[in-house]
Symmetry: C2
Subunit: 395 residues, 2 copies
Amino acid sequence: MGIERSVRVAGPLGVAGMTGEAGVTSGGEAATTSPAGEHGRGDQPPGTVPISAQRRSRLVDIAEAVGVHVSTVSRVLNGDPAQSIRPEVYERILDTARQQGYRPNALARALKRRRTGALALVVPLLRNPIWAKLQRGALQRARERGYVIMIMEEPTEDPRPPADYGYLVEESRADGLLLATPLRIPEHAAVVNGPPHVYVNRRGPDRGHDVVMDEPGAIRMLLDCAVDLGHGSVALLDGPPEVDTVYRRVGAARRACAARGLSLAVRYAAPTEDGGYDATTRMLRRGPRPTICGVGSLNQVFGVLAALRDAGVEVPGEMSVVSFDDDECLAYLEVPVASVCMPLSELGAAAVDALIARIEGAPAGDVMVREPMTLVRRGSVAPPPGAAVAAGPRE
Amino acid sequence: MGIERSVRVAGPLGVAGMTGEAGVTSGGEAATTSPAGEHGRGDQPPGTVPISAQRRSRLVDIAEAVGVHVSTVSRVLNGDPAQSIRPEVYERILDTARQQGYRPNALARALKRRRTGALALVVPLLRNPIWAKLQRGALQRARERGYVIMIMEEPTEDPRPPADYGYLVEESRADGLLLATPLRIPEHAAVVNGPPHVYVNRRGPDRGHDVVMDEPGAIRMLLDCAVDLGHGSVALLDGPPEVDTVYRRVGAARRACAARGLSLAVRYAAPTEDGGYDATTRMLRRGPRPTICGVGSLNQVFGVLAALRDAGVEVPGEMSVVSFDDDECLAYLEVPVASVCMPLSELGAAAVDALIARIEGAPAGDVMVREPMTLVRRGSVAPPPGAAVAAGPRE
DNA sequence: TTGTACGCGTTATCAT
DNA sequence: ATGATAACGCGTACAA
């Protein structure tokens, strides 16, 4: 307490007209020695700068102050239930720990325990908001479980095989890997016998490590809605087939449409506004026009709408549109766009749970997030052009 | 097993394998189920579950294999320039390191060096895409500088004072804090003499730690555009004034409009679609209507457009709209919306640089990112209703 | 040119 | 009920 080690830095307070209160700035190292009374441990090698201004308290400090051995302090502070401790010392230790503002050193602890308490989340640098939602769910759950999450970026082009992130575990920077990149990876890149890991929102090359959502269910909701309104010809405009979610959606759509006697047109496009625009334009030029279109990603939706607008195709009069990414902004568009709301946050949370289980030695096993999904009907869906009047045919 | 493992040590700082630049890591070693025979290390104690399947190689392993002392190995692998080493041993050490797939233990190294090599990025859980861009820039730069980034979520409601994240540094989980939450914090919560930190995209309670963008410059671009087209009455619809960027934009707008003789109406709203919608609706009801409106965030833009549409106000005929968040989707809207493109990624990068400088002992000092901004003119801007015909008056 | 010795802060396993 | 001791894996001043 009371180590006033602040240096007056003649602040380069260059920013517009803020009256510098000559506030105390930390960060500069002063050659001041600690005031009397404090044990001034001066074992900083000369020339180096301390990480934090005030000396952090260690177990040994507490031990010294209380007059017991470090190991005793350690046991008390870890609430070791095995041994019991004299209530008096117990209190004293807890008190001085509190008083000294003791914080366990995560590094030392991790080194000893051989567990870092960190998970690495590998995400692509995409604009799509699903990554933010996923990250959010993962973050929240990780905190609940006592882990921190470090983020690694995956280059969007040229995704690297999962094994390329193994070094994080090998270097003891993290206990496991959350691989949340969308692209499918060739079989041969499987992580066998590697670090603990799960694939998030896609299936990896090695089985038993997948945490995914119910894409077939999402497709089903789209088709239910289509059939409900009387559509017979469906389009699915989605990302490139190298993306695993796309792959699964398309597969499910093919099967389900066949089963229900619906015609299906699949269009692959880049997951961008531009991609959506082009694919829609091409789709409109060719053959028989579908009357309802599912769109894989939010960015594509904007392109799809623009293309339909430019082509003079009315939504929903001539074409219904449903997005597989939900976002609040959809409700505010020119024509409010219906969407399937997927449990992305829960996906992130489930992935964290699965990974921690793996770290703790649980056997492998795939996970499918089963939170309820909903199709939010908005202005962009309606019966097909030639259908009976307004109301839904079922009711 | 001729695998390129890049144990190669770069530079005097000895950042061995810190960048994930290594080609294939040892993790994926056994892609081929090894035909019986070779298979070196199967020394897992029965019953326990290994964190990582294969035993990690340590310095001492290499030392033993080569027949030298650990310290020698350490020096070689850290590229210690001071001492020179017999070329022969040097090679032998490097070879066996590579061969054993050696990875330095980041924990032990950090414990010794008193530097974790990690930065904590505190972000709010907001939908606004600016956070993703900022994070992206920070991530990229951090990797270049040999740091990893861990993410901490800040509860959106009830933001906590920056000091509440100090524990991350005190526990040696990170070397410094990137505080990227938008809300202004009361003076008394300043971090004095605390851990290294910078505020990103806002000014903190303690001076000399701010990394911000040129909001007045952005305002200037809006006004330049307005004047250029002949507008005399400007509106600024932005987030709540507790958000620091809003605070600065509004201040700059007030001053600049006064200086230029423009009338200014300021509307504060929640940074959501809904907020934008309501504020716009209220604005249209009251008093003299502005002819050009700057909008603080992307989400609000959707609400603004919807409100104008619902009120029958034509864009840009009766009202021009400019967004302060740039996003590709804006170009694809009903009326393509003009935007000021801010250097968010550079902001993230600059924040990382500033924080690392602080960690390394550099004196405090505010930073303003000076990357060029541009106003992207799109369909949503035009001369005001009563103006001279089409072309810009200046030319 | 290389080896010795010690410490970073904590925990686990012995003893006492 | 508590203390002593040995790691965990690495870095480094100093001795040889």
